[in-house]
């Protein structure tokens, strides 16, 4: 059952290439079928895992036992990421039915979108470090083509910058894999953990740590490596921006960092200090640079950098509460950042502009868009009872718990500045008076409204995932899988016998 996450979108992508050039509706239908199927499968997987005792599923590809063969591994963290990725992908696909009418050649878009989904699902379920690299490249190359999709001048320049920086990051990652292979002579994740524990720390492992932080940090847009994100994310079409900002920087960057540094190499105080420092730097730099922006999508892209800083801060604290806060914030950020980008896409669909100074008073003409935008802005600023409040509260309490009051101070300051920034967005875009040129605006079509409404409802009721009854099958296995640390390999080997 595990390979179906990769097989179904891939088969749909190839079928769309062959069949859908003549029949326009077939591309919509196949793509929504594939993403809906993978979403339902991820929920079923969550349900199955909550009833098993060990909460790990291992699939040997081709029947060969690891470490000679490739295996696919799902534990609590992977199933958590799978549900996050697939729910956002399904909602975005529904959004795309109406939005992509403005661009030509819809079937090409769906093919690339499904290939990006294949790459992301593959990273999360793979148990082998080179397989992870191949799926990372599939997702990256598909995202290069999607950023440059409508071929205007600015999009091409942003895509060029993104491609060159991402290619250098991939070279660093491959170099890190080469060094790790030379030291351990195996590629399987559980086996690498075993060999590293037996051989102990040496200079090669420290070099590998640095190369991986550089390479995956660029994919995750952590602060010294964030320069591609404010250009690449606004230039893409709106569903692609929300997919890139909501999922790609987290599944490619944060997930792999956590998997490698907690479960394989083993965490120590130096790495935790690096993570907390980079996290706080990202929070402040992201929010301060976002304060002066007048372009709506560029503002949202800078806030993405800041919120990923919160996730890295939470995960870099090392305590169980910090990890819980970081993972919950990962899920919440996917939901509300995707919703914010979809709102900006809906505004662009109706008005044709992204500049905040040209908008005003959209609240009376577009009720669904403005109410979901208000919900998402409240969530990202951390206003109770939306879901962003709970995750930020947990991160701040975890900071205070380890007696690092300075980190908590920066986190609260970042949250206050985020609130002010989004109040500006709401005032300029939705409140105020309607400009004369936009007197006869209509609301966006039904499929876009549906996608935004579902994500908005999850924003509002997402806080219940912390309650003990719900979190035991969604968040708590994820936190346990990360906290298990080097026990990962013991678990995999015990399942394989």
């Amino acid at each position: 059952m595990l390979p179906l996450f990769v097989v179904v979108p891939l088969a749909a992508a190839f079928l769309i290439v062959i069949l859908a050039k003549r029949f326009e509706f077939l591309s919509d239908f196949l793509s929504n079928l594939a993403t809906g199927f993978s979403f339902i499968l991820s929920c079923v997987l969550l349900f199955i895992l909550s009833h098993s005792s060990l909460k790990v599923m291992v699939y040997k590809v081709g029947g060969w036992l690891p470490p000679f063969g490739v295996d696919l591994v799902i534990d609590g963290f992977s199933s958590f990421m799978l549900v996050t990725i697939n729910i956002v992908a399904f909602m975005l696909n529904i959004f795309c039915i109406s939005y992509m009418r403005k661009y030509s050649a819809k079937w090409k878009f769906y093919t690339l979108f499904l290939l990006m989904l294949v790459g992301m699902n593959g990273i999360v379920i793979s148990g082998d470090i080179f397989n992870m690299f191949v799926f990372l490249e599939i997702a990256s190359v598909a995202s290069f083509a999607l950023v440059a999709y409508g071929v205007e001048a600015e999009e091409l320049e942003a895509a060029f910058k993104y491609i060159i920086m991402s290619a250098v990051a991939s070279s660093f990652i491959l170099l890190g894999i080469a060094f790790l292979y030379s030291y351990t002579s195996t590629l399987n994740l559980a086996d690498i953990a075993g060999v590293l524990e037996a051989k102990g720390l040496s200079n090669v492992v420290i070099l590998v740590n640095i190369l991986f932080i550089m390479g995956f940090g660029l994919k995750a847009a952590i602060v010294p490596f964030h320069a591609w994100l404010p250009d690449a994310h606004p230039s893409a079409p709106a569903p692609v921006s929300s997919f890139l900002s909501g999922i790609l920087i987290k599944a490619l960057g944060v997930y792999v960092l956590i998997r490698i540094f907690y479960n394989i190499i083993g965490i120590n105080r130096a790495l935790l200090a690096v993570f907390t420092f980079l996290g706080v730097l990202s929070i402040m730099v992201g929010v301060l640079l976002a304060l002066g922006q007048m372009d709506l999508k560029r503002l949202l892209a800078y806030h993405s950098i800041s919120q990923v800083g919160y996730i890295i801060l939470g995960l870099g604290l090392g305590t169980p509460l910090g990890i819980l806060g970081g993972l919950f914030h990962l899920f919440n950020h996917s939901i509300f950042k995707s919703l914010l980008f979809l709102n900006s896409g809906a505004v662009e669909y109706s008005l044709g502009t992204r500049n905040l100074e040209e908008m005003g008073g959209l609240r009376e003409k577009m009720p669904v868009t403005s109410s979901t935008s208000m919900a998402a802005s409240m969530a990202i600023s951390g206003v109770p009872p939306f879901n962003g409040f709970w995750s930020k509260l947990i991160i701040i309490v975890a900071c205070i718990q380890v007696h690092k009051i300075g980190l908590a101070f920066w986190a609260v300051l970042g949250s206050i500045l985020t609130l002010s920034s989004f109040m500006k967005v709401q005032k300029y875009a939705f409140f105020g008076s309607l400009k004369k040129a936009y007197q006869n605006l209509k609301e966006v079509p039904f499929s876009m409204q549906f996608a935004m409404l579902v994500l908005g409802i999850i924003c509002v009721i997402g806080g219940i995932l912390i309650l003990p009854h719900f979190d035991s099958f969604f968040l708590f296995p994820a936190q346990q899988a990360v906290m298990r640390g080097l026990g990962y390999k013991g678990l995999i080997y015990s399942v394989l016998k």
């Binding site: 088969a11 190839f14 290439v17 062959i18 040997k60 590809v61 081709g62």
Partner: protein
């Protein structure tokens, strides 16, 4: 290249004659390398690149329109998708027998002959097809781009 011979498309007569003789041989060599991936170095990737080199040779020697009359763009796109689907089907067929990518060929010949080694020759030919037509589609997309430079 095309601007200096504006009246006739493609290159001079000598190049055209030699191309007519060698293109078939290059195609055959590429198919040989793609099929014998389990016996000698090469395999799907290298074989696919050599196959597409024969098509590009044809296009360079005879000019764009002449080559388009023989290989149309729809054909290329269709075969590329078909190659990918074929590889996926080979993988899925193993699924029925228990595991994904399982060796589902029951009759395995003796080693070092052509029909041996399970699903590897089939996988390599599917990959060769996909790489060849994928690269040719990239080449077509970059060559047939007509635009006017705006200042």
């Amino acid at each position: 290249m095309k601007e200096s011979y504006s009246k006739q498309s493609g290159m001079t007569l000598i190049v055209k004659v030699i191309t007519r003789l060698t293109v078939g041989l290059i195609l055959l060599y590429g198919i040989y390398i793609a099929l014998h991936g389990h016996l000698s170095p090469g395999g799907g990737f290298a074989g696919g690149v050599i196959i597409v080199l024969s098509f590009i040779h044809l296009m360079l020697a005879f000019g764009r329109e002449e080559a388009f009359r023989r290989i149309s763009k729809r054909f290329v796109s269709l075969f590329e998708g078909l190659g990918g689907l074929l590889f996926l089907i080979i993988a899925i067929l193993g699924y029925k027998a228990g595991y994904f990518f399982y060796d589902w060929i029951i009759f395995k010949g003796k080693p070092f002959s052509l029909f041996s080694a399970g699903t590897i020759p089939l996988s390599y030919s599917a990959i060769g097809l996909k790489v060849a037509f994928g690269l040719f589609a990239i080449f077509l997309a970059l060559i047939t781009l007509k635009f006017k430079v705006k200042k």
